[in-house]
């Protein structure tokens, strides 16, 4: 009896603790879900592109047996190089979709609610401006990369499966295919690349877009791009250099050289050689970028607090 009541009060305690935790995380969770309801393209676009690519791959798979027969004479290194191309293209395509989705999302994120005045409704609920802005920032910084990762590995897995089926149907061995394309390794590399080159590295760009989307009355993209163009232009005229433009471009398309994975020559022998997370995380340019991102987000929170609908 005693133990029963003990465990009962314990579970009650647990409940109140989880309830307290829930009250702080629930608005955030629902705000993120709200974003996905409003911006369905965040997941529909990558899924659509993946499906289209897969369709093309299935058609190309009919030529695979002939290709493999021709390749069987090659050494494993070249075999991998030849076979892995579509998988690298698939991954690259998904990166491109990630960038596009994140940019278009950020441009609209804090603008549409002011444009349609629905900000007056969202602000009538007990959700702080900080929660809302962080939920919006989590779309390009958390949701899109993880979603892209999930879709990309599902796509690559299906590609492997299709290739295997086609090869087996033609009486060819699949052992070479599976051993040369290490699926787990490929997935880990992709995840690392997504989180570094497409999340942490371009974070200041996405947060800048969020800030401008909370500030501009119209033409968000123009206002976001103008200062950058102006700075690049002044630099070009004054010093005849283009460091700033190059910096912005590498930020957006993930040009940090120590994060790239498309080095197929080193891939099969030592694929992890060019992955240096400590170096990457400790690099001053990344830290400066993250500080800038945090400052832009703080600005976006301030603007949402102080500005009404357009």
């Amino acid at each position: 009896m005693n133990t029963q009541s003990n465990s009962f009060s314990e579970s009650l305690n647990k409940q109140t603790v989880t309830a307290a935790a829930m009250t702080s995380t629930r608005p955030f969770y629902w705000s993120v879900r709200r974003e996905l309801w409003e911006n369905r393209f965040v997941y529909l676009a990558p899924i659509g592109v993946a499906c289209a690519f897969l369709f093309g791959f299935i058609i190309s798979a009919f030529r695979l047996p002939g290709k493999v027969r021709g390749l069987s004479a090659l050494d494993p290194l070249h075999y991998r190089e030849a076979i892995a191309v579509p998988y690298d293209i698939a991954a690259g395509l998904m990166m491109l979709v990630t960038i596009l989705v994140s940019v278009f999302y950020c441009v609209d994120a804090l603008h549409s609610e002011r444009r349609d005045r629905s900000i007056l409704f969202w602000k009538s609920l007990p959700v702080s401006d900080t929660t809302t802005v962080l939920a919006k920032a989590s779309i390009p910084l958390v949701v899109v990369p993880l979603l892209t990762f999930a879709i990309a590995i599902a796509m690559q897995f299906l590609m492997l499966l299709v290739s295997s089926v086609v090869l087996l149907a033609n009486g060819l061995s699949v052992s070479n295919l599976w051993s040369q394309l290490s699926f787990v390794q490929m997935s880990l590399l992709l995840l690392y690349h997504l989180l570094t080159a497409h999340t942490l590295w371009p974070a200041p760009v996405y947060c800048w877009l969020l800030l401008v989307s909370g500030w501009a009355r119209r033409a968000v993209f123009l206002w976001a791009a103008l200062p950058l163009i102006a700075i690049a232009g002044i630099e070009g005229i004054a010093f005849r250099t283009a460091h700033f433009a190059a910096m912005v471009a590498t930020r957006l398309i993930g040009g940090a050289s120590n994060t790239t994975m498309s080095q197929p020559n080193v891939f099969p022998t030592n694929p992890m050689a060019h992955i240096t997370p400590v170096e990457f995380l400790a690099s001053p340019s990344l830290l400066i970028g993250l500080l800038l991102a945090a400052a832009f987000l703080a600005g976006a929170v301030w603007l949402r607090r102080n500005r009404g609908p357009i």
Partner: protein
């Protein structure tokens, strides 16, 4: 404890003075109508009360400073800032999910039972609802929130008479329980006359009249006077005079109704008539526009 208390509440937008040092006190359980012409400062006052804009002076809502303690305050306050601010892309069911997810005092079953009385389907998107239905939906959500203060800014603007009447009927019958406080601004003053417990006129950022409805009924009287008695009646200093079908209707402030009864039937004026009278005293509204 007063629900809303303001002292010297002031707000300027550049050179424009939107609120010019307002003193205001609203006790809990009251239904206050804040009435004023366009640009009088109504919405500015509401925005200050809701913590949407910073202000000068003292303001306390449910014992909290709305600007610095807005996040906590919004658990106890709900508002309809305008008609049709619900996002157009959302589904009714998603809206209920979201509010239930973020608002600890939202009773989803209650909102669903309100919606069941309407034509609104949960699978519909807001963009496919008529303006009246969107207002019904917003009201259903707000009424299912157990808030201590409800602020309504022109909640029925642009709705037809049936929706407007239904809106206030629901508010009184299903929501108001005597302990909640409601603050409403509207131009459709006739419809709120029987809803309000308190009345406040605001013009050019200042409060020009503030009284309870009991005081309003005791103070103001209106009587239709025949031309031959007009001079006698005018001697009692009416605050306003208007002509209807060649007869004069005089509005008196604080004159004994027995004294007025000799001119004709004495009525309590409508809020709209008093509003026109007070505003024209202020030199704001042309007399012709009143009719």
């Amino acid at each position: 404890m007063p629900c809303i208390e303001a002292r010297g509440l002031r707000k300027t937008f550049g050179p424009t003075i939107a609120l010019d040092g307002i003193d205001l006190r609203v006790d809990e359980g009251r239904i206050l109508g804040l009435i004023g012409p366009n640009g009088a400062g109504k919405t500015t006052a509401l925005n200050a009360i809701l913590g949407l804009i910073p202000y000068q002076g003292q303001l306390s809502v449910l014992g909290r400073d709305p600007w610095t303690q807005r996040d906590q305050l919004m658990r106890d306050v709900s508002f309809i800032a305008d008609v049709a601010v619900l996002p157009r892309w959302i589904r009714v069911s998603q809206l209920l999910d979201y509010v239930a997810g973020v608002h600890p005092r939202f009773d989803r079953a209650k909102a669903e039972s309100f919606l069941a009385r309407t034509e609104i389907r949960q699978a519909s998107k807001v963009r496919h609802l008529s303006k009246g239905m969107v207002a019904q939906l917003h009201l259903a959500i707000v009424m299912a929130i157990d808030a201590r203060l409800l602020v309504l800014d022109e909640p029925t603007l642009g709705l037809d008479i049936l929706y407007r009447k239904q809106f206030y009927d629901s508010l009184l019958n299903d929501y108001f329980d005597g302990s909640r406080t409601i603050l409403v601004t509207t131009h459709q003053v006739e419809e709120v006359q029987h809803v309000l417990t308190d009345l406040m006129f605001i013009n050019r950022g200042r409060i020009v009249l503030s009284c309870s409805m009991e005081e309003f009924e005791a103070r103001y009287a209106e009587v239709t006077v025949n031309p031959e008695q007009l001079e006698v009646a005018r001697a009692l200093k009416p605050v306003y005079e208007r002509q209807v079908f060649g007869r004069s209707i005089l509005l008196f402030d604080g004159v004994d109704r027995k004294q007025l009864a000799k001119f004709g039937e004495v009525r309590t004026p409508s809020i709209a008539d008093l509003f026109v009278a007070v505003m024209s005293q202020q030199g704001e509204v042309a007399l012709g526009a009143a009719r």
